[in-house]
């Protein structure tokens, strides 16, 4: 049985066996779950299919959340791009709108893939699907990339539970951005070292990200944070592919992330008792949405 709990373990095994991250991860997964590789890949494909479906539905829908606060920004942005194309081009437009589309599907209680969580569900799919479309990649390549993303997330989650209530948003959208960086770096032919570097670079830049959702809903600031952190992953990947090395290795960055999560006040960890959640406007929204709860009835 392959025991991989840290990025150092993963790197060592990849080197010893002369394999890529997804190959090792797939092998490990077949051992852990006692299934054939084809069955593991089939399950990964199911997630990819659901991601694509959420994007397809999401780019067309303007239905708002039950709260009425969010849900129509993706369509707004798509219409705007038709008249005023994005400075960074078509791929940028796709990543940003796919991330928004998925997140908005989520707030409608639509069907999405938690990757790693529902609040961060737009980040990995937007990069994976947009890049695959633009570079005309194959389905096996997409599956390989999502396996690598899963492995990166799994290793981080060994130390830090991917929940805003436990580690703040760094543990949700931060983790997703690191996974998306790994996806992109792999899709563009990056080495094991480059993939892990892109992970470290992405994570480092998001340490301390709080979880302070307005009215306690996965809407403000979560929805818009998804496209932001999808693009953030692109920067991490470009640097890593260009040979930029994180001076702090990924495992130590994860340690720092775990510590930061522990030191973060519970008020800023998905309890909506500080930060954006207690701004004047947020309070007004809360009184409007949940008058009963607020009066303690």
């Amino acid at each position: 049985m392959l025991h991989i709990t840290t990025f150092e373990d993963l790197k060592k095994i990849c080197r010893e066996k002369d394999k890529t991250i997804w190959e090792i991860s797939q092998l490990r997964e077949t051992e852990v779950s006692d299934r054939l590789p084809s069955k593991v890949r089939e399950q990964v494909k199911k997630s990819i299919d659901a991601m694509k479906e959420a994007i397809r539905t999401g780019v067309k829908s303007e239905e708002k959340a039950i709260s009425g606060m969010c849900g129509d920004d993706c369509v707004r942005l798509i219409r705007s791009f038709e008249k005023r194309p994005a400075l960074f081009g078509k791929l940028y437009e796709k990543i940003v709108t796919y991330a928004l589309a998925t997140s908005e599907e989520n707030l409608r209680m639509g069907k999405i893939v938690a990757c790693p969580t529902a609040g961060s569900c737009g980040i990995v799919p937007s990069v994976l699907v947009a890049v695959s479309e633009e570079l005309e990649l194959t389905e096996p390549e997409e599956i390989n990339a999502l396996i690598t993303a899963g492995e990166v997330g799994r290793i981080i989650s060994n130390k830090l539970q991917p929940a805003g209530a436990v580690g703040g948003c760094q543990a949700e959208c931060g983790l997703a951005s690191a996974m998306a960086a790994a996806v992109l770096t792999q899709l563009r032919g990056g080495t094991v070292e480059q993939i892990l570097n892109s992970v470290a670079l992405a994570l480092k830049n998001l340490l301390g990200l709080t979880c302070d959702p307005v009215c306690g809903l996965v809407e403000i600031p979560c929805v818009k944070r998804n496209p932001f952190l999808a693009i953030h992953a692109v920067t991490a990947s470009e640097m890593a592919l260009g040979g930029v090395v994180s001076k702090i290795p990924p495992d130590e960055v994860v340690d720092a992330m775990e510590q930061t999560g522990k030191l973060m006040s519970p008020l800023l960890k998905e309890s909506s008792q500080a930060g954006l959640a207690t701004t004047k406007t947020a309070e007004k929204l809360r009184k409007k949405l949940f008058p009963r709860v607020l009066n303690g009835e």
Binding site: S25, E29, V32, S33, D34, Q43, V44, K46, S47, A50, S67, E105, N106, L107, R108, M109, G110, K111, I112, V113, A114, C115, P116, T117, A118, G119, C121, V124, L146, I147, A149, G150, E151, G153, R154, S157, N158, Q161, P162, A163, G164, A165, V166, A171, M179, P213, C215, G216, L217, V218, E219, P266, K269, E270, S271, S272, Q273, L289, F290, V293
Partner: protein
């Protein structure tokens, strides 16, 4: 024991909007339903901390109830659960509490009916959950394994007598008790499946008070 999987991270496929507060809630409800496996008349869901303060907006209440009624995490009817026929026959209520000694996403589910049962659980992220107490006994039920929950008399040889009837590999065994010689509990996680015959043989053993076979969650 925790061999993690990439599918802890790149799934579930689920109804939004929150993996820990919606999908996790559904799974906690489902596991509780499977532990109870009886006809419930009244259920009280006690939500703690973040579950309490943000549960309404995340559909945690809907998720817990939907799970308890047997819905899975990707069922698109969760949003409408309060209006569905399935929910009408059950007397359910929710309490919203604060207790910082508990996990941020903790819940107690108190069931009354043909028998009464109190289940405590927590949602630990990305839709993963743990049921850590049943009627005060410490257990560890994640829904990843077929599991046996047994309450028995705390006397010598009970563990070996029970486990000798199990014909598949045991992945984890957790025992707890109220006090020496009183009631004790066993939570057995299994790599394989048990036949109805094996379960019945354990149920029929003297000094075994409760036996529940809780199948692993499909989604």
């Amino acid at each position: 024991m925790r061999e993690t999987s990439i599918f802890d991270i790149i799934s579930p496929i689920m109804a939004g909007p929150s993996s820990s507060h919606t999908a996790g809630a559904v799974r906690l409800g489902l596991l509780t339903r499977n532990i109870y496996s009886d006809v419930a008349q009244k259920v009280t869901f006690k939500l703690y901390n973040s579950y309490a303060s943000t549960g309404l907006g995340h559909g945690t209440d809907r998720g817990l109830l939907a799970g308890f009624l047997g819905f899975s995490v990707d069922d698109m009817r969760i949003k409408e659960i309060f209006n569905l026929e399935e929910a009408k026959g059950l007397d359910y209520s929710f309490e919203f509490l604060e207790d910082f000694n508990r996990h941020p996403n903790a819940v107690d589910i108190v069931i009354e009916g043909q028998s009464s049962l109190t289940v405590s659980g927590k949602s630990i992220g990305a839709g993963e959950v743990v049921i850590d107490k049943v009627n005060g006994f410490g257990i560890n039920l994640t829904g990843k394994y077929n599991s046996l929950l047994i309450v028995y008399e705390d006397i010598p040889h009970m563990i070996s007598k029970i486990t000798s009837k199990i014909d598949t590999n045991i992945a984890e065994l957790i025992c707890d008790r109220y006090a020496k010689g009183e009631k004790a509990s066993m939570c057995i996680s299994l790599d394989g499946e048990l036949t109805g015959d094996v379960i019945q043989r354990i149920k029929n053993m003297p000094r075994v008070y409760m036996t529940r076979y809780v199948k692993k969650l499909e989604s």
